[in-house]
Amino acid sequence: MTLFGFEAYKTFSRWRTYISFGVLALIVVMTEIVMRVSAREIIGSMMKIFQRDFIIAGNILNAWFITTFIMNSLHFHIPFLVTLVAGDMVSSEATAGTIRFLLIRPPSRQRILNAKYLTALFYTAGLVMFFAVLCVVLGLALFGSGDLIMHRLGQFSVVFIPEAEIPLRMLLAFAAAIWSMTVVASLAFLFSAMAENSIGPIIGTMAVVICFLIFGNLPLHFFRHLKPFFFTTHMLLWQGFFDSSIRWLEIGQSAVILGLHNAGLFLIASIVYRRKDIKS
């Protein structure tokens, strides 16, 4: 715990750690204000295909809708923000030369790496929680509460979740979002353990995430077969909590696959780092 405290103190003493929180705040505030201003237009375009057959009443554009709407962009911007810190976690010590003071201390490399990894996960969880709280609190202030009515793109169906069920589902969805983002953190952490500078791990992680996202969405037979094996596919497991009935099995499978990714990536990082010669 001392080492974890040490790492957390260092991480949260650097101003650049807060860039991500600032960027997230900007995205959420801007999105919610714009949505508040153009609420009628958004609802109109969303419900266009249903308006002939259904009468939709009540506060559709509420905090929960806005939150799920913004959450859909989660796998684009949060991975980048997670990478900024997780990709820097080990390699920045090599760049700054502080690694020499750190590794000549009694704690083993594995213990130091564990503390750093825990800090990266802690930061990732903190970032997603900040995002969640900001989305919901600002959403409630600007749009109020209500039932969640959603239309999934490309599907002729509407999902209806009563207001009473939403807080729990939202909580589970954000927990799943944290879990999915830890894979990005683990990947960035692995690259960070291998590298001597921070740029490589950040660019490397983003390149992997972007490639997997693109491959997973290409309408080609070859990639469709591979899609279930991409971690980016399972990163959307949080969406399962906003189906009419929660598909626990699918969510569980994705969670296990993501967990295995985390374990595998951290294991490789550990092996690499324990064997590494510190020449910097």
Binding site: F6, K10, S13, W15, A96, G97, R100, F101, P106, I278
Partner: protein
């Protein structure tokens, strides 16, 4: 004498190149042990192996009689060190840097941190971010962090680099004080031969990764001494006498002292010869500097 640090056939290979090979170092308790070698000789590689930053390709390291890699935690908690440049967390204060780094070894109190800073003259800057420190100040802070947990062995890799003459003198005195008054063992690598000459009790010379000499400074310097300073009267008579001796070469004379080069093992014979010829010998002693010795064992290697 207790051996604090001992290496056995220690070696490190990078690709096909051996950076250090077959090193058998022996550092005794209370030594100020100086590790000498030209640039690229393998000094830092050796220090990095001793401090577990590099994994040895061959050999073993024993600290305080225990195998370093089997008893890492116990052994390293008794060691402090600096490897090359002292790089700190620039965004943290000097105090916080020491507190955090020290707490990785054991719980350190505020007073202990302040005491360490006081010893290197940085207590007034304790609260300042390291970003605002000069190189010399960082170097002193590096020494403070090495001392913080009161280790039994301190390993300092070129600790006076970047210090002004006063700073170098302060560090030199601090090193001597730590060894004499507090019984710490110091393992020191430096390029500055004059500095080493002033503080070292034992030393080792490494060249191209291989050990060239090891022992007490006086013993090493005396072992191969061939140049002597002679104070004799009457000096002219001594000069005349020596000019006829095949194993003596008169190098210089300032009218008071004569510098002579003798073939090995003739010092006592010269003394006897002079006295037998009614020449009074006030002094006859080897004149060999560490620099002469160093250049000889490293065969004039550049870079020092």
């Amino acid at each position: 004498m207790e051996c604090v640090l001992k290496t056995f056939d220690l070696g490190k290979r990078f690709g096909k190149r051996w950076a250090a090979r077959g090193l058998n170092l022996e550092v005794h308790r209370g030594d100020i042990f100086c590790f000498l070698g030209p640039n690229g000789a393998g000094k830092s590689t050796t220090i990095r192996m001793i401090l577990t930053l590099l994994k040895p390709t061959t050999g073993a390291i024993r600290l305080f009689g225990e195998d370093l890699h089997k008893n890492r935690v116990a052994v390293l908690s008794r060691v402090g060190g600096i490897v090359e440049k002292p790089d700190f967390y620039l965004f943290l204060s000097a105090f916080k840097n020491l507190k955090l780094l020290g707490s990785m070894t054991r719980r350190v109190t505020r007073d202990e941190v302040m005491e360490a800073l006081e010893r290197v003259g940085l207590s007034a800057r304790a609260g300042d971010k390291v970003r605002t420190f000069s190189h010399g100040m960082k170097q002193r802070l590096g020494i403070a962090q090495a001392l913080l947990t009161k280790p039994e062995l301190i390993i300092l890799d070129e600790p006076t680099t970047g210090l002004d003459p006063q700073g170098m003198k302060d560090v030199r005195e601090l090193i001597q004080r730590l060894a004499l008054e507090e019984g710490m063992t110091i393992f020191l690598s430096s390029h500055l031969l004059s500095e080493i000459e002033q503080v070292a009790t034992r030393m080792a010379v490494i060249h191209r990764g291989e050990m060239k000499a090891q022992g007490s400074v006086s013993e090493l310097l005396a072992r191969e001494a061939i140049d002597y300073a002679l104070q004799a009267a009457p000096i002219e008579q001594a000069m005349r006498l020596m000019q006829g001796v095949p194993w003596v070469q008169v190098l210089s004379s300032d009218g008071h002292m004569i510098e002579v080069r003798l073939e090995p093992g003739h010092a006592a014979e010269l003394n006897k010869l002079l006295v037998a010829n009614q020449i009074e010998v006030a002094a006859l002693y080897p004149r060999r500097t560490l620099e002469d010795f160093f250049l000889k064992v490293t065969k004039g290697a550049p870079g020092i």
